[in-house]
Subunit: 382 residues, 4 copies
């Protein structure tokens, strides 16, 4: 039985962790942490959990929590975890952080884009970027997947929702050198749950409904995360080896150049009137000599065995309705011969594969379980 604590369990991502973990027989949630609802019944905050979760919300005392659980999920505002985490906590329990605190290896880049001081830079190196399909081996600490052994990794930086969609859509083409990395544009669209459960006028029903808008154009915080990870893939390619993103990342860190050699892209997020779902439409110029068949092959090579990545192939595109409630990422593409660009479109459920589902996938990997445990429900439609 894996004992779990959730800090930030009353946000949308935290609640999704509850939805995914509560039914499991091998997991027990012992701590429903909350900043705003301490002492209230959890099911008064989320009526779907009525008669399912009987617990009250507890506070967000990580020190106390660390004594009681095998793993802590933090679905907290940026900067929170870095402010409270400690070597002592990590010596007692694992932490899977759904916030952005440990995703970027270069603390300067973090502070520049997030406009806050990083309070635990000494732990950034240790954190593994938990994009399972790409860094699986590192997450397992080199141990075989699903063999029951617990990984030595203590701190997982669970990727962002936009970033998971965007990186997975572009990674094979960067990794295999098929696109010009200076031409990458990601035009992304997200459901409103990505904006969180805070009471703000722009997120009111009447403000979001019947409208689409771009926001944080050219300034969104997920940009450097995409750039860094694609940069690792590019570096491995250019340097003629087959290192994983995690290995490249370590190498840069050892050379005192953490997060080094990123690719510069344009990333434009949009808010869409729907609850869940992210769609990333990615554009890049195909390098000379490559064809649609090559692109299809690249995706198969990188993802052919991935359970959670569904390759739609050429000329068929994902729709967010087909992944809702699931941990799947659907990817399709086309090559426009008129402009010589490849257009890759990826879609996922931002609350599942973009947050809680991927966090559970990371937990499964850390604890040597089947990677798909508790995550095989088909998408809910309509």
């Amino acid at each position: 039985m894996i004992k779990v604590g959730i800090i930030g369990s009353t946000g949308y991502a935290g609640q999704e962790l509850v939805r995914l973990l509560q039914p499991r027989k091998d997991v027990e949630i012992v701590w429903f942490g909350s900043h705003s609802y301490v002492g209230q019944k959890y099911s008064d905050i989320y009526g779907n959990m009525f008669k399912i979760v009987e617990a009250d919300c507890l506070d967000d005392n990580l020190d106390e929590l660390a004594d009681q659980v095998d793993v802590i999920f933090t679905a907290t505002p940026q900067g929170y975890l870095a402010g409270v985490i400690s070597e002592e906590i990590l010596s007692k329990t694992k932490v899977i952080d759904i916030s952005a605190d440990f995703r970027l290896k270069d603390v300067n880049v973090y502070e520049e884009w997030y406009k806050i001081e990083h309070k635990a830079p000494q732990l950034i190196d240790e954190a593994i970027y938990g994009l399972c399909e790409i860094n699986r081996e590192a997450i397992r600490g080199g141990k075989p997947v699903g063999n029951g052994e617990v990984s030595d990794v203590r701190l997982i930086a669970n990727p962002g929702c936009y970033t998971t969609t965007s990186i997975l859509s572009l990674y094979p083409l960067v990794k295999q050198g098929m696109i010009d990395p200076t031409t990458i544009i990601v035009d992304a669209k997200s459901g409103t749950s990505g904006a969180g459960r805070g009471a703000k006028v722009p997120n009111l029903y009447c403000e979001v409904n019947e409208s689409i808008k771009p926001y944080a154009v050219a300034t969104h915080r997920h940009t450097p995360e995409i750039e860094e990870q694609l940069g690792y893939a590019r570096f491995a390619l250019v340097n003629g080896n087959d290192r994983t993103n995690s290995a490249v990342s370590d190498e840069f860190a050892e050379n005192n150049n953490p997060g080094g050699d990123p690719i510069t892209i344009n990333f434009t997020p949009h808010l869409v009137p729907m609850n869940r779902g992210i769609l990333s439409t990615c554009y890049a110029t195909l390098l000379p000599g490559f064809t649609a068949e090559d692109v299809a092959e690249a995706f198969k090579t990188e993802y052919g065995n991935e359970y959670f990545i569904r390759l739609l192939g050429e000329g068929r595109f994902p729709e967010t309705r087909w992944v809702e409630g699931s941990n799947f990422v659907d990817i399709g593409f086309t090559v426009d011969k008129r402009t010589n660009r490849v257009i890759v479109v990826g879609a996922l459920d931002n609350v599942v594969k973009g947050a809680a589902g991927q966090a559970v996938q990371n937990m499964n990997l850390l604890f040597g379980l089947e990677e798909t445990e508790g995550l095989t429900m088909p998408p809910l439609f309509p």
Copy 2:
């Protein structure tokens, strides 16, 4: 391993059966029946099933299907099943009918409200009305629940979505004689999946979105179904015994008065711009001497042990978002002392407890499995 065939698997209810049954290790779907998509890949019709269901759609040949499966689910238009069902089919396999063909015991009432001739009236008596919380014993054919023995019942009339919500909301108060049955009004609201997947202008996105409308006012076909079932409960009360609805139904049938002694109500359905969910707001005059405490007690008496019915108590009301994707029915109520009326509000997911989920619950009961098997997922929110 229970072998399952689904006729009408490409409608919304049929697809939900696939969603609920596909992940189960004790069930195998061997026949994805369809009227319109024979020969096409099922996952081309429902993209959420991509890489999950590999099968092609088959036709709707019940005779052939009956040889291959333990149970057939029919999610078909009204009149279809009655036109093709036979003693031979029922001798080989069980049938759980999600259409309305065998819900009403009085064939004249059926033909009057549905405006079609009933082609298999000889089987109406045999069919058990599959509202599990009320007719559980009859569905089991008297055998204990969950003991692994297969019930002798061959034909289940799975209740309608509006009717499940409405009957469950009112049954305890009728059964225990707390309300004046001549004063019952049910004002119901449904998500749009209830209208099916047919290509009709009134169901287009732009026609449904940003609007609410009543329809079939005073003429909706679910009306007599509610009236019949509440009538049974009333009859048992008035006649001073504790017979179940099913037993009363049998008694009427034996006396050549099938469906007898219904209660007459007003039922008004409305179409709401959302995918899933039904909310029934029920009004009735409380009989002298009864209080809110009595009402609460009546619900506890009838449903206190029911897993799928969540009693919210007095002054707390259900919302469809809290049941989405689940088999739960949430019920709350208040007593208005100014008017002496009790207002009971019930909510469920029309595609789950209102169709496919309840059908699976019936299957579980028929085959002696745990009643909740495969149906314990928490509701999906947001």
Copy 3:
């Protein structure tokens, strides 16, 4: 040129006043009052008004405003206007109050349902209940409609959104004695703009979307307003005369029984995931001898000449999409012979006829303009 000030211009109803009044050549808005956005550009709060309204938001100083304008609209929280209004203000300018402060004639009823002390009870008698179709004569102070003469009426209590829909749907049948007033039930459904623009978690997009819920069951504040107005109609009927609601109201007030003789009803509001629109489904028992033809006739008698009331007749029902953006009220009905109940359904746009549009209609009446001036735009669909 009518000079107008709007207090609460940054709420949804206030903004709708701007939308309706800004294009008019006979009206000038000289004061965009706001509580929260003083000093900010109005078009920064409402981007639709960019390049249309150049003004900044001013504060809510009614005393200063009264010197500058011919009429003040108050779209403010309950209790606000009663707290600041004065004889001096009314001596200088007219006030059309979109809040509830002067709608109920009995101050005790107001304080009981609104849970606040009424700070200006001395002005309640003077206020005219601005349901134009019923109290037109009183609003005009006896002067002919549209003759250019300004009415002497100084204070209009603009009716609520639920109440306008519900009263207009039932008034002819009460007025003409066709229904049993003790059997009235109003089941109402509203779009989310009715909840206002306040930043509250329950009104967030993800909380409202894909759900329907009842709220304030048996306790909603619009209940006594409906009861009072229907009571006046009933009183006039019972007492064998043909007095208007306003005249009956005055008579009660003179007899020290303000708001007297209300009808007691059940009123249940529901929140629907759409921006605009209210639908009231009203139930009542038809008195012996009356038929559907009589009901149709009653509606024609009372509303046959009303521009803004569109009678759909028997068996045809309104949908909120058909009134969006307009000042129309659509009304249809049926008589259920099985239960002897009449079901009347009314629909309107809560922001227009339910708030700002009716306020403008009142303004037109007060100033002797054509009643429909600036309000004849067809509904916007889709």
Copy 4:
């Protein structure tokens, strides 16, 4: 009084023409043409027009219609108008075509993208591309705007919804040579009314709701229309003169190279769960030496005096909610110094400025009226 006939008045664009033209005192709609609803009351098809439009739907006989009206609007499927139009019709009346039949100057390009034979290629040259802000002078046939004189132009090709948004967003930067035309990418998002009122499964409420999808990626028919118009602007720039798009177009035609010198772009449309609205997010590489200030200046130069184009400036972006129901186009932009790209975002209401509103604007221009006549209503929000 301008007499108007509408062919295709029962589609969404046709109905919007009715909404815009019916209230006008200088316009009379004498023909409500329809393919599917001949003989039915128009207000039975569109309930919003109940008591507003009393007419029945007529057929689509253009020859007969031409005798009766001053202008015919055709909101018809592609290829229809080209199949029935004739010199005789144009000798009697003007035609404003909302379909695509006369938008592309090169008949081969038309036939390639639309996959149909063009039945009236001899009229393509004569048609004026009715993007008013760019071709105003040509639409007026050289006469002053608003002087009451009727233009000699007989046939207007009203631009598409995606194209209007996209061309207007990019035109100033192409025209003034600030961007590299080979780098243009337009990622567009549309509300569902753009898909029309045809009864198709993919447009059902439950299929569109809660999802976003790309479609017609790299193959959408609006692509060559954008390319042709931007090509004209580019040609004028490169050739060192200041010709309008229309003049360049004529010049190409005279040189037997109709539609010549287009710019090649990527255009990706997406379907968004909302009724109305288009948002185009446009990317291009800024040429060396140009800054955000230059970009702002270019927009002011081209559009500074345009009533319907609202320039939001740098760092402020449009949202479709702010233009709903209006004829406005809102445009904002930013320059990303990291990538040296300019990102321009344009938004409009696809049914108004993207179809019926622009058609009315063209009508106003043709007949020498004020260009904004009947089109100055503020956007409807929420």
